[in-house]
């Protein structure tokens, strides 16, 4: 009997959470007008992480929207690095994530950190999309070809070919200090990331 009651409670919780989730994805800026493709509510996480906190961050070199190639190892010994994977250009939550980081430059600076934004979209798409966000101070990298290779090596490539909404914090020695593979439907609160960077600084 207890078990059955539990099932009922789970059912109710499930129904309620659908209500909450559907609305969560929509806190959207008018900057993109009608150009945002509504993806609906997705499976929160759809990949298996291949790296772990305490391990060495895997190096990569990717092309950026500004034209130069960016390698992770160029920050070794100089900067803490935040990798922000977002699933795809022109989708609801992603379009509302980097513009916030864009006004938090001084906080990243305070913690001696650089931000690298990464998606599996190609450069022209990223160019058009990030143009809607104003002038971004951080590099935006394209993990388009071989498709999602970096996302895949980190274990954040979803089964449909987009990446997770994931944050990786790498310290100056190249060690992974924080991983947040976030529910794809929600934006990670800024204070969580900044709390981690603040601890690194100490």
């Amino acid at each position: 009997m207890e078990k059955r009651r539990l099932h009922h409670l789970i059912l109710i919780a499930g129904v309620l959470s659908v209500f909450v989730l559907t609305s969560m994805a929509l806190g959207l800026s008018d900057a993109y007008r009608e150009n945002i493709y509504q993806v609906g509510t997705l499976k929160p996480i759809d990949s298996i992480l291949k790296v772990k906190v305490g391990g060495r961050a895997l190096d990569f070199t990717l092309p950026s929207v500004s034209g130069e190639k960016v390698s992770l190892d160029k920050y070794r010994g100089k900067k803490n690095v935040v990798l922000s994977f977002v699933p795809a250009a022109w989708t609801p939550v992603c379009s509302d994530q980097w513009p916030g980081y864009n006004i938090a430059k001084d906080i990243f600076n305070r913690y001696d950190a650089i931000l690298l934004g990464i998606t599996v979209d190609n450069i022209p798409t990223l160019f058009a999309w990030t143009n809607q966000m104003g002038q971004l101070w951080f590099p935006v990298l394209s993990d388009f070809w071989p498709h999602g290779a970096v996302a895949n090596r980190y274990g954040v490539l979803r089964s449909n070919g987009v990446s997770e909404r994931a944050l990786f914090v790498i310290d100056k020695e190249g060690i992974l200090r924080y991983i947040d593979v976030h529910d794809i439907n929600k934006r990670p609160p800024l204070e969580d990331l900044m709390g981690v960077l603040e601890k690194l600084k100490k």
């Binding site: 009997m1 059955r4 009651r5 009922h8 059912l11 109710i12 129904v15 309620l16 209500f19 609305s23 969560m24 929509l26 806190g27 959207l28 800026s29 008018d30 900057a31 509302d96 994530q97 513009p99 916030g100 864009n102 006004i103 938090a104 906080i107 809607q132 966000m133 104003g134 934006r187 609160p189 800024l190 204070e191 900044m194």
Partner: protein, 191 residues
């Protein structure tokens, strides 16, 4: 026992379907309508509390603000247009404050849709926002107001008899401080 459980589930589901439409409005409140119930925390900052004519602590509702008209801006620190318009909205506040005829009649507040207190603070500091901003981390107010895109502006007129109504609302298209103030004064009958 089983029938009790089924009854419980059905009741819970029907209550949730009854309650949710009330909380999560399908569309923004329209001109002429009342505001949905929005509970905001009385600011801890004395200047902000005085600005809104509030006292004590706990929660307050927008119509309790001591004013003839209240401008409510839905913004987000993650919204590029809100960022771009922020200096112009600050200017609106200054225009109102330096005009003795309307200073005590028109007040301005911002609600950070989906923004945590930390995120609202980043926005406030970045743009040096001089008027009170309130976080709405879990989108509760945003949902009650029909999940408007940002920035969204509402002007609420307070009537002598204690009632209120929305006299203007618009999505984006901020025309600059002077034009917007004129629009506010006309819509709320203060001109």
């Amino acid at each position: 026992m089983k029938s009790i459980l089924v009854l419980f589930t059905v009741t819970a589901l029907s209550i949730s379907t009854l309650i949710f439409p009330a909380l999560a409005a399908k569309k923004p409140p329209e001109k002429g309508e009342r505001l949905p119930v929005i509970n905001l925390p009385v600011p801890k900052n004395t200047d902000e509390r005085d600005y809104l004519g509030l006292s004590g602590s706990g929660l307050f509702k927008i119509p309790q603000i001591k004013a003839k008209a209240v401008i409510v801006e839905f913004f987000s620190m993650y919204c590029p247009i809100c960022q771009k318009d922020a200096p112009g909205v600050n200017e609106l506040y200054r225009l109102i404050e330096k005009n003795p005829d309307i200073k005590d009649k028109v007040k301005l507040i911002g609600i950070g849709a989906g923004n945590s207190p930390y995120e609202v603070e980043v926005y406030k500091k970045t743009y040096d926002v001089p008027f009170p901003l309130f976080p709405d981390k879990d989108f509760v107010i945003h949902q009650a107001c029909g999940e408007v895109r940002t920035p969204y502006y509402m002007v609420v007129k307070m009537n002598e008899d204690g009632t209120h109504q929305i006299v203007h609302s618009q999505l984006g298209d901020y025309p600059g401080a002077e034009k917007f103030l004129e629009l506010v004064l006309n819509a709320s009958g203060l001109k």
